[in-house]
Amino acid sequence: MVTSVGYTAQELMVAAAAREIHDGEVVFVGMRLPLIAFALAKRTHAPNAVGLFENGIVRDEPSRELLYTMGDPPNVVGAEWCTSLSNIMCLLAQGAVALGFIGGAQVDRFGNLNTSYIGDPCAPTTKLPGSGGATDIASLSHRHIIIMEHERRRLVERVDYITSPGFGDGGDWRARVGLPRGGPAALITTLSVIRFDPQTKEAYLDSCHPHSSVEEARAHTGWDLKVAPTVHMTAPPTEAELQVIRAIDPQGFWTHV
């Protein structure tokens, strides 16, 4: 849905996600919005970023056509490397991947993500598809970004199941369970950008999108969401950014939903 400001929430999320990619970084791309964010970053501030796809593909330039899956033939043409999933995962495991993107159905105040079971895993009310590579990305990349709808049933006090570890119950939990590095750097929702306290690892509202507000973001969060003293408005996508996004997804398959 295009808002009165002339761009969709998804387009803003893509722009926000793109800004998380630094030039020269090796990025685990994933599908949907992150794929477009990667292409946007490449064409703006991060021309030397490299994208990895877990099916075995490494690209330093985005595919010329919109992808519906990472296995679409245009994603292979012009790739820098087409290899095995294991080899790609090795790069992740050895610490060569700066940033990864994942999405999910439930996230909690410590950035743990659930894409597996709603309810009791032995008798779930909803069976979700599962991890795919998300558990690996959340376990092994230096930082990761979570992208999802901002709804009270999705942003919950505690996820029913940790598919992709965030900061567990906070503090030094990741080190305690043996994870070598990482953790979520941001949760980009349809309403806001949420980050995590460097010490406690608890989520806090960092910025609200122009079409939303602190009150709305908090009202749609299932716990008492902290707010940064420096809370501000998420920078909207620029005209130049929108042009790139719309050139990539002219039908709005992923960005007009």
Binding site: I57, D72, P73, T83, P124, K127, P129, T135, D136, S139
Partner: protein, 306 residues
């Protein structure tokens, strides 16, 4: 020597996929998915299969909906471009699941198969630590190496792996290209491999490029010539992905009755892949396999001479 490996899809499925078998398939992830083989498994009403794969882009869902499956060992079961897998959900939601799921990540399923290939009981990883996969899949265990916690990923050795390839010879030599996912790990781990090919070519074609070969021919139990056999998934150099088919399936399978109708139309009432492609329609198939915009993109020449 005459080939005893080249056979029809019905014969290959009948001979090498008994009820209760563990079958690895969908190993390249979203491409090269052996739908034709899966549909033949459904037509032959196989029972009690264990499916092994990284992600499955609707083929697992179809096999589950048709009642062929009792166990799924996978990282993700859904519909990549459209959403959830409805049969999979129906089989698992509520307190009487009709299916056992062993949760994996993409890396852990690759490691499990690699362990099987390597003849060791497990491989270690630092992935999955802190995740609930370690709780819901009782086969994972945390082990300690000089105080460092690692996840013990137990080996998997499927009875059969099914791989869809661009071309094969009648002895089991096969070339495939594009994204391959865990095809190599799974083919090495499996006790036997069924090779499906868009084209059957002389052995000299395969042997002209031994670095492009997927697995040793002695692992191959059957070679099946099945053009279009991966539709609606894509095959690099042959046809693109039929996105609409995935979306139509997503809508059709929202109810069990809807799936039953879909199964009847696309699986049970077609005799095989040629009839399936006819049902799809020549125009639609031509658009996928020979679009007006298609230009060959040939790999640069490679000389093995000396």
């Amino acid at each position: 020597m005459p080939s005893r490996k080249l056979m029809s899809m019905p014969d290959a499925v009948a001979a090498f996929i008994p009820d209760g078998a563990s079958v690895a398939l969908g190993l390249a992830l979203e491409s090269l998915i052996p739908f034709a083989a899966g549909h033949e498994i459904i037509r032959q009403r196989k029972q009690g299969l264990t499916l092994i794969g990284p992600i499955s882009d609707i083929l697992f869902d179809q096999l589950i909906g048709a009642g062929c499956v009792s166990r799924v060992i996978a990282a993700w079961v859904g519909n990549v471009s459209a959403g959830l897998a409805h049969n999979y959900r129906r089989a698992l939601e509520g307190d009487k699941p009709s299916l056992v799921v062993e949760d994996h990540s993409n890396f852990s399923i690759a490691l499990a198969l690699r362990a099987g290939a390597m003849g060791v009981p497990y491989l270690p990883t630092r992935s999955l630590l802190g995740s609930d996969l370690l709780r819901s899949n009782p086969h994972f265990r945390i082990i300690h190496d000089d105080g460092v916690p690692l996840v013990r990923v137990p080996a998997l050795a499927p009875a059969v792996a099914i791989v869809h390839t661009q071309r094969a010879d009648d002895q089991g030599g096969a070339h495939c290209w594009g994204n391959l996912g865990i095809s190599e790990d799974a083919a090495l781990a499996a006790r036997q491999v069924i090779v499906i090919a868009e084209e059957i070519v002389p052995s000299s074609v395969i042997r002209s490029d031994p670095n492009r070969v997927l697995l040793p021919a002695f692992k191959v139990c059957a070679v099946v010539h099945e053009p279009g056999g991966a539709h609606p998934s894509p095959v690099q150099g042959h046809y693109g992905r039929d996105h609409a088919m995935y979306h139509d399936y997503h809508q059709a399978s929202r109810t069990a009755e809807g799936f039953a109708r879909w199964q009847s139309e696309w699986i049970d009432s077609v005799s095989g892949r040629q009839a399936y492609l006819s049902r799809l329609g020549a125009g639609r198939w031509a658009d996928l396999s020979r679009p007006a915009t298609r230009t060959p993109r040939l790999a640069a020449a490679v000389d093995y001479g000396y």
